[in-house]
Structure formats: structure tokens, C-alpha cells
């Protein structure tokens, strides 16, 4: 079985996810409202320009949208009793999970285009367009991979459990990522903590894209996000392979 054929099947799975999980009304509404809500929460009553807020806001928008549904997909399938049929199809575990990652990726990109457009209309100028686009694609893929990793344990069929546990990871991660304060203004320990979050590197890169200023250099940001994405994806495949059987009993 060629990996190309498997890749094709993961696209089939991604399309299925989009139909079923993302096309649901509440998810779309959440995706649309949430970034706008963030924008307002951060601009109203604060003496900061949209340009100052842009890196952090884009980071949050991408991070929250691309990790919004991913963790719940497998528990949902287990609960609705569609999982056994799906995983016994001639699809490798990596292809199946990659399908779920693609679905989260598409959702993250599409929704994040909205705050991006708003920011551009409000006068934010992206100088390094290619770097920014690359970073946005990479970051979204990286976070989408993380979202699938978050559903590994416990191998439950209760989506709410996974969503709660994944929030325990997602929210702290945002707070340590230099979203509110640029990395170079953080104390030494803050910088050390922020370096374990992949979001830090996207925010840094976004800052570079609009101002040319960054803490790490753009190639470092891109490289680190690539490494994070690879680690998340590999860990997700290995761990899901191990825990998947426990979803059936």
C-alpha cells in the first residue's frame, strides 16, 4: 500500500470531519465570534493600537480555532459508534490522524483569515508577507497536530471530558506564550517558560512580519515550529496506536 494512496484516504477523512464536526452551527459561530470577541476585549479601554496587539491576537485566533474541535473528534466517534467501522477500514493510524489534523488545519486557517482581514483593513501592514504566510501555515498545522495529541488520554468516549482536559492545557499555554507581553520584555524565568510553547514562536514571527523586530530570528521561529509539529504528530500517532484499542469494550 503506497503512502500516496494512504494520504488520499486521509483527505477523505478530513472532508468527513469538516462535514460532520465543523459544519455544525455552534462550532462555526464559535469560530467566527471568538476572534472578534478577543479583538474587542483587548482593544476597548486600552491604550494600545491594533498594530501592537496584532501578533498576540493572531496567535490566539490561530491557536484557539485550530485546537477547538480536534480533541473531541475521536471521543465523538467512539460515542456515536462510528469509530470501529472507521479504524477497521484499510487506513493506517497515521493517515487517519493526519486526516483529523488536516480538518483542524483548514478550520484554523479559514477562521483566522477573518481577524487577519480585519487587521489589514484597520491599517496593519504586513511587511514580510512570505514569512508571515509560511508561519501562519506552519503554526496552524502545528496546533492542529497538538489538538489531536490532546485526545490521546484518557481513551474516553465522553467528548466533554476531553474538552475540559484539553482546556487545562490550552489556556495556560496561551498565557505563557508572550501573547500579552513580548518575549524580550519578560524576565528570564518567563522567557524560559515561554520557550516551551510553540505559540511563542508564532507570536514572535508575527511581530517580525509587521515590524522587522523579533526576539528569535524568523528562521529559528520557523524551524522550532516545524520541530514542534513533527514531535506532536509522531507522539500522537505512537500514543493513539497504543491507546486506541482501549476505546472499544
Amino acid at each position: 500500500m503506497s503512502w500516496l494512496e494512504q494520504l488520499k484516504r486521509s483527505l477523505v477523512i478530513a472532508r468527513k470531519d469538516v462535514w460532520i464536526y465543523y459544519a455544525k452551527g455552534p462550532v462555526m459561530v464559535f469560530g467566527l465570534i471568538f476572534p472578534l470577541f478577543l479583538l474587542m476585549a483587548f482593544t476597548i479601554g486600552r491604550n494600545m493600537t491594533v498594530r501592537d496587539l496584532f501578533p498576540g491576537l493572531m496567535g490566539m485566533a490561530i491557536f484557539f480555532t485550530s485546537t477547538a474541535v480536534g480533541p473531541a473528534i475521536l471521543p465523538w466517534e467512539a460515542r456515536s459508534r462510528t469509530l470501529e467501522r472507521l479504524v477497521t477500514a484499510p487506513v493506517e493510524v497515521w493517515a487517519l490522524l493526519l486526516g483529523d489534523v488536516f480538518a483542524s488545519f483548514v478550520f484554523g486557517i479559514l477562521i483566522s483569515l477573518i481577524p487577519l482581514a480585519v487587521a489589514v483593513v484597520m491599517g496593519v501592514e504586513v511587511i514580510h508577507v512570505v514569512v508571515f504566510v509560511l508561519g501562519m501555515l506552519l503554526a496552524t498545522f502545528c496546533f492542529a497536530s497538538l489538538s489531536i495529541l490532546l485526545s490521546v488520554y484518557p481513551p474516553t468516549d465522553v467528548p466533554a471530558t476531553v474538552m475540559m482536559l484539553s482546556s487545562l492545557v490550552r489556556f495556560p499555554l496561551v498565557f505563557i506564550s508572550g501573547v500579552f507581553v513580548p518575549v524580550d520584555e519578560l524576565p528570564g524565568w518567563g522567557r524560559a517558560i515561554s520557550s516551551v510553547s510553540p505559540l511563542t514562536y508564532f507570536v514572535d514571527l508575527a511581530r517580525y512580519s509587521i515590524s522587522g523586530i523579533s526576539y528569535y530570528s524568523a528562521p529559528v521561529d520557523l524551524a522550532v515550529m516545524t520541530v514542534f509539529a513533527a514531535v506532536f504528530l509522531l507522539a500522537a500517532v505512537k500514543l493513539h496506536e497504543r491507546f486506541l484499542p482501549q476505546r472499544f469494550s
Binding site: R85, P90, L244
Partner: protein, 315 residues
């Protein structure tokens, strides 16, 4: 060639052995049944064949593709309906079928043509553009069968395909299984229903507590019960099952509705005992029938045999 070949397959959940060194083979072209009570290890065996449960010991191959070394090939040669599964209720019947066809790499033209044929055959064609959400349990099970056939598999694996369905769906499903088999598809199914097994299967393996205790044609299994007979009766008053099963000529007593079933070796002797018993207790026999040994009787005999052997071993 054997369509399915299983050797010493074993699965433990912690210290509990759910499937215990099972070996059997399903010959190409036959309908092979796994018959056993709930919890006997049927679904676990199937899950090892479909590759979602890793065996602790043993090997298995489907159409000569080893399930551990070549799981994708093995899966491509089967159609599978899990126990208590569901199609995607948010999608239409048609989309569910297309999705499954694509996952099996069936070319577009082929899967559309086959989907149409299958839906017609299972009486779902008119409903193909409806969301599965509105389907009854029987319709959903029929759709799952359509989905399992979209890749035109040489082997069909069905976990309790007809249990808990309305009569019409159940009959339709059994008819289609027989038709498919006549056209060359090998079928491996599980059931806890003896009638289903004897109606459908060419051969039946009786499985209990993770072990196969007999494999044969349904009639041969019936014959195995040769010495065993069943007397069904009821009395005018209440009787103690313990006292009845205490008689040496009675192997086993079961309650069946308002009647009692006594499994006995010698009808003549047993009826004598029963008559003496009812006179001694001032009871009247209201009805008494002798039943030819059914597969169920054989089953009772075989499975209780295993238990009493074990008890003897433990004592």
C-alpha cells in the same frame, strides 16, 4: 484455500483470558458461525481479525494476508459490520456509502454503481438522500451491510448481524447473506441465537469462556446430543427445581416460562421418576412433551459439561 485461518489466537485483559488459544479455519465459500453466549469472546476474536485488538498470542490470516504483518491488505479483503455500530447520522445514506467506498479506494464510477445496486437490494434506495438520523435500527443495520459490501469483498465478517432487529430487517439480512454466499462470498458471523446459526451456517463453532468446544455442521452438532433428551412439563403445584435435579436420571433442569425443561439421558427412566415424584408430592402433571434435541440442548450439554469438568478439576 482457507479464507480465514486462525491459530492459537489468545487475548487477555489483565489476568482475565477473554480468548483462549482459539484455532479454526473458514473455508472459501462457506458460511461459518461463531455461536456462544454473551461474553464468550466472539467480538474479541473478531476485533483481533479486524486488527483493532492486538493478540497476545497466536496468528491469523485473511485471504492469506497475515493480520499482523499485512493488516491493510487483510482489511481490504473483508467487509465488516461491527456489533452495535452506526453510520454517520449527520450524513445521508448515499454519502456514508461514498465515504466508505473512498476509504477502500474504490473508483468513483464503480462505487456509485455498486452503491445504487446495494441500496436497492436492501430496500433503502428511496431513502438514499435522507440523513441517517431518521433511520430505524433495522434500516441502519441494512445500511451498515451496504457499507460493508461497497468494496465487493471476498470475505464478509458480521458481528451479531441480525440480533435485536425487527422481523422484516432480520429476514432481509439473512436472505442477502445467503444470496451473497451463493454468489461466492465467504461469510464469518457470530450469533448467540441458535436458530440463526442453524438456519444460516454451513459450519458452526461453539464458543464458551473464550474456548471453542465443538466445530461441526449444525445437524452433526444436533446428532452429538444423541443420548440427551429434553422433557418439557408442568405440574399443578409448585415444585423444587433442586429436588428434581437431584435425581440421578436428570442432568439439568431449566425453567422455560411456566414450564420446566428436564434434560435427561433415558426418557423412560426419567418419566418413571417424574411420575413417582408427582404422586409422592400429591401433584398432577398438566402437560408433558418430549422434545427432540435442539442445538440449544447440545449447547447446554456441551457448556455445562465444561463447567462441571472444571469444578471436578478444582476440587
Amino acid at each position: 484455500m482457507d479464507a480465514i485461518q486462525v491459530k492459537d489466537l489468545t487475548k487477555r485483559f489483565r489476568s482475565f483470558t477473554a480468548v483462549d488459544h482459539i484455532s479454526f479455519s473458514v473455508v472459501e465459500g462457506e458460511i461459518f458461525g461463531f455461536l456462544g453466549p454473551n461474553g464468550s469472546g466472539k467480538s474479541t476474536t473478531i476485533r483481533m481479525l479486524t486488527g483493532i485488538v492486538k493478540p497476545d498470542e497466536g496468528t491469523a490470516a485473511i485471504m492469506d494476508h497475515d493480520i499482523s504483518r499485512d493488516p491493510i491488505r487483510a482489511r481490504e479483503s473483508i467487509g465488516f459490520v461491527p456489533e452495535m455500530a452506526n453510520a454517520y447520522v449527520e450524513l445521508t445514506a448515499w454519502r456514508n456509502l461514498m465515504l466508505m467506498g473512498e476509504l477502500y479506494g474504490v473508483p468513483r464510477r464503480e462505487r456509485e454503481e455498486r452503491a445504487g445496486d446495494l441500496l436497492r437490494r436492501f430496500g433503502l434506495y428511496e431513502r438514499r438522500d435522507d440523513q441517517v438520523r431518521g433511520f430505524s435500527k433495522g434500516m441502519r443495520q441494512r445500511l451498515l451491510l451496504c457499507m460493508s459490501l461497497i468494496n465487493d469483498p471476498p470475505v464478509l465478517i458480521l458481528d451479531e448481524p441480525a440480533s435485536g432487529l425487527d422481523v422484516e430487517s432480520s429476514r432481509l439480512i439473512k436472505d442477502v447473506i445467503r444470496d451473497l454466499n451463493r454468489a461466492g462470498t465467504t461469510v464469518f458471523l457470530t450469533t448467540h441465537n441458535i436458530e440463526d446459526a442453524s438456519q444460516l451456517c454451513d459450519r458452526v463453532a461453539i464458543i464458551n469462556q473464550g474456548r471453542i468446544i465443538a466445530v461441526d455442521r449444525p445437524e452433526a452438532l444436533r446428532r452429538m446430543g444423541g443420548g440427551l433428551h429434553c422433557i418439557e412439563l408442568n405440574f399443578s403445584g409448585s415444585v423444587s427445581e433442586n429436588e428434581l435435579s437431584g435425581f440421578t436420571c436428570v442432568r439439568e433442569v431449566r425453567r422455560s416460562g411456566d414450564k420446566l425443561r428436564l434434560y435427561v439421558d433415558d426418557i423412560d427412566m426419567a418419566i418413571g421418576c417424574i411420575a413417582d415424584y408427582s404422586r409422592a408430592h400429591d401433584l398432577r402433571i398438566l402437560t408433558l412433551n418430549t422434545l427432540a434435541p435442539s442445538l440449544e440442548d447440545i449447547f447446554v450439554r456441551l457448556t455445562t459439561g465444561v463447567e462441571s469438568d472444571e469444578l471436578a478439576g478444582a476440587a
